[in-house]
């Protein structure tokens, strides 16, 4: 019998370090002269520096470096694909395996919280006001940078809580909500104001443009792509965005099928299928290409596989079959042109990609408007959105100083 991973919905992925184990890991660090790990971080979190500080017992200094450099330090520590970034660059790999940089970062953020450390202080107030549209990673990052520099910042968020994809997308096993909330608190403490349940469209943007000296739009990708096949409108066919949001905010009332099929091969599809499985469904993922071609991070795929979830490859959706208006089965066609597959299902989750929402589609840089994050880059990582938010803040400051 294979031993599969059984994690309750929301149960944490793995235990974090304590001081002793964190020190052990830090003592494996080679303290490279040119810190390739630091160059590997898009957000400039500077692991070379914070690991060195930890190694030399300057724990508070280490936590300070992390927080000062990365506004979403806690979230990034949990969800960053380190294997493609800092840890991939780690010289220790040449000896055995890379330093667990993400886990060290997580330890430092946990210490920051536990010891009530406060590092951030806004500069002298400046007269300009900025509106940030969206409370996801890019917008939060931009807002924090501007607030640090003394600007007055208001964030407009369509949902009733901040965090964007961190709060409404990524599953709590990968990213506990209290980690998200703690990062956001550090931003709130700088005086950033949040206005919730405020969605922005073209007309409202015009108003913001005149009410504020600059507007940053980091509205993310909140419209699901649809498949154009028969049965797509049947009851029981849901989008990944709706499914994950319901699961996170309304876990007990989530309408969950017995046999859930998730369509897609990205991280969002992986999150949907683990959610379904964790909440008690028999869940399967079906992807039209091979896992090798899939955009999902290998760690996510491994997590799905460790839970014993089948990943069916090279079958594309052909038809969703229903009875009395509700989905009962789904038919797929093989990539080879000959194979066929029909599966019994009562819930189909479409996770085949997201695009910019209709209200904010077409918004681009111009006048006093600046954009960044997923809605510009097409959907990348949290850490890249953080980096883009910081860059946008610099552009905005330059714009004021012209």
């Amino acid at each position: 019998m294979s031993k599969i991973t059984k994690k309750e919905y929301g149960e944490e992925m793995e235990k974090g370090f304590n001081l002793r184990t964190a020190m052990e890991e830090a003592s494996r660090c080679l303290l490279c002269h040119d810190s390739p790990c630091s160059k590997g971080c898009p957000a400039g979190t500077d692991p070379g520096k914070f690991i060195r500080s930890l190694r030399f017992r300057n724990i508070k200094g280490a936590a300070e470096t992390v927080r000062e450099n990365n506004p979403l330090a806690g979230c990034c520590a949990q969800v960053c694909p380190y294997g493609k970034m800092c840890e991939q660059a780690c010289s220790r790999t040449g000896i055995d395996k890379p330093i667990e940089i993400g886990k060290i970062q997580r330890f430092l953020v946990e210490e920051e919280k536990k010891q009530n450390m406060e590092f951030l202080k806004a500069a002298e107030p400046k007269k300009e006001k900025i509106a940030c549209v969206g409370a996801g990673p890019a917008s939060l990052s931009c807002a924090r940078q501007l607030a640090l520099e003394g600007y007055s910042v208001t964030v407009y968020e369509a949902q009733d809580k901040a965090g964007g994809v961190l709060t409404y997308g990524i599953i709590p096993t990968r990213l506990p909500q209290e980690v998200v909330d703690f990062d956001i608190q550090t931003i709130e403490k700088l005086g950033v104001e949040f206005k919730f349940n405020e969605s922005i469209d073209a007309a409202k943007l015009e108003a913001l443009k005149s009410d504020y000296d600059a507007v940053f739009v980091g509205a993310g990708l909140w419209k699901s792509k649809m498949v154009d096949i028969p049965g797509k409108d049947l009851e029981g066919v849901v989008t990944a965005i709706d499914f994950l949001r319901e699961a996170k905010t309304n876990t007990d009332q989530l309408l969950l099928g017995e046999n859930v099929i998730v369509i897609g091969g990205g991280d969002v599809a992986m999150d949907c299928v683990t959610t379904a499985k964790q909440l008690g469904a028999k869940a399967t993922i079906v992807y039209r290409r091979t896992i090798e071609e899939a955009p999902a991070d290998m760690d996510e795929v491994s997590f799905v596989q460790s839970m014993g979830i089948p990943i069916i490859q090279e079958f594309a959706p052909a038809e969703i079959v229903g009875e009395n208006g509700h989905v009962t089965a789904m038919r797929f066609e093989g990539r080879d042109g000959e194979s066929g597959l029909t599966m019994k299902t009562d819930q189909v989750v479409l996770a085949i990609g997201q695009v910019v929402g209709d209200d904010v589609a077409g918004i681009a840089d111009g006048d006093n408007v600046f954009t960044g994050g997923d809605m510009v880059n097409g959907g990348k990582t949290v850490v890249e959105a953080v980096a883009e938010g910081k860059e946008a803040a610099e552009k905005i400051a330059d714009y004021f100083n012209k």
């Binding site: 002793r20 184990t21 020190m23 030399f56 508070k60 200094g61």
Partner: protein, 418 residues
């Protein structure tokens, strides 16, 4: 935006921006090295010892001790004083002082007779340095007229301090050897000779390892080796002890001390300050990790001061001294039992093994549960178990119990272990 406390502190009337200095050693051998260190944040350098004597060095000249996964628990060094021409070294020091006027340049000197000490003192004074350190303590000189052989002789220490003090207006520091039973004796002699401060400690005479390929000590120099100076983390406890004893001696308690020996982190630095050092010197950690380590010394010490509401570093100097007392003044009226956290215990049994083989057989091993069980009747409260436990916060200090016939009284204990 980092917390930057004012870490400045006076040493022998010279204002130092922080207490962190390079010690006179290979890490401060020329202009370029010292300049890089000063740029990195060191407040000053004790420039590598200069003399009239120019040594002929061997190759290789270093060795390390290690324990399990930790290299460099100690470091052995056979290098002597500077092998550069005296005039070059004087020129480097002159330029350093010129280019870094707010930093502190200390000349370390070593003569083999009175005349040499006098010449050196005059020349470095002319070069414009801030202080002079007399090296009475290098244990690997090829001549017994110099180094730790001198430092072990209070009469020579006193005489050379007189000569140097007579040849300069600068504050003179005497650098002590730990290869001696009581450092107070040569330290008092140095004060009598006119020295104003004490530097402690220089390296400890040692053999680190024996090489079985060549049947000699390490490092192997053409099949042979020598006893030479040992430094780094391993010698820190020895340094703290010598400094404490000097600071507690009635004739030396007010003498400013520059502490040396295994300083690697801000916490090591703090330890030296708390036993009375008002200036600190580092070499071994710099040789292993580079000048950059000063960044975390500055940052870590700043955070400590911030957290403890300390505004002046000098307020921390010697704070631990009153609580380091003779063995017969220790309260021996109680037992502090260890407390075992069964949930944290991973069942390795290391506490059981150590308690049986090295303690008082006070732990029994529950074979079924694979957990230790304390027998308080046998436990003497030595805390060997706590020290050997690999799990953080698993074995911690627990209840205090008075020995029979002792009146109950308050007992201060340590609660936080790392």
């Amino acid at each position: 935006m980092s917390v930057k406390k004012d870490l400045s502190i006076d040493f022998l009337g010279v204002k130092c921006e922080n207490p962190f200095f390079l010690s006179s050693s290979p890490v401060g051998s020329n202009y370029e090295m010292c300049a890089k260190a000063l740029e990195a944040g060191w407040a000053g350098v004790y420039y590598k010892t200069i003399g009239i004597f120019i040594p002929n060095e061997c190759s290789p000249r270093f060795d390390i001790t290690s324990k399990e996964g930790t290299p460099w628990t100690g470091f052995k060094n056979m290098e002597m004083i500077s092998d550069k021409p005296l005039e070059d070294n004087l020129e480097y020091m002159r330029r350093l002082k010129q280019d870094y006027p707010t930093k502190v340049i200390v000349a370390s000197i070593m003569g083999s007779n009175e005349e040499e000490w006098e010449i050196l003192a005059k020349k470095v004074t002319e070069a414009g340095v801030d202080m002079i350190e007399c090296n009475f303590s290098c244990p690997q000189m090829t001549s017994s007229a110099m180094g730790s052989d001198v430092g072990q002789n209070p009469d020579l220490v006193r005489r050379y301090c007189e000569v140097v003090s007579g040849a300069t207006h600068l504050p003179v520091i005497a650098k002590m050897t730990p290869n001696i039973g009581n450092m107070e004796i040569p330290a008092i002699a140095a004060m009598e000779g006119g020295a104003k401060g004490i530097a402690a400690i220089n390296t400890v005479k040692a053999i680190t390892n024996i090489d079985v390929e060549n049947m000699t000590a390490m490092p192997v120099v053409n099949g042979k080796s020598s006893i030479s100076g040992y430094s780094g983390a391993a010698v820190k406890p020895i340094a703290l002890r010598f400094i404490t004893q000097m600071k507690q001696h009635p004739e030396l308690k007010d003498v400013p001390i520059t502490g040396i020996g295994g300083i690697e982190t801000w916490k090591d630095a703090l330890d030296f300050i708390l036993v009375g050092s008002s200036n600190l010197q580092v070499t071994t950690a710099v040789m292993q990790y580079g000048y950059r380590i000063v960044e975390d010394m500055i940052s870590g010490l700043s955070h400590f001061m911030e957290d403890h509401g300390i505004d002046k570093l000098s307020d921390l100097v010697g704070v631990a001294l009153p609580n380091i007392v003779p063995a017969d003044d220790i309260d021996r009226t109680f037992i502090l039992y260890p407390d075992f956290n069964k949930d944290k215990c991973v069942g390795c049994g290391r506490c059981y093994v150590s308690c049986f083989d090295g303690g008082h057989q006070a732990i029994t091993w529950d074979e079924k549960e694979r957990k230790p069980v304390l027998n308080e009747d046998k436990c003497v409260g030595c805390h060997l178990c706590l020290n050997v436990c690999p799990v953080m916060d698993c074995i911690t200090p627990g209840k205090v119990e008075m020995k029979p016939g002792v009146k109950d009284h308050e007992v201060k204990i340590k609660t936080m272990y790392e």
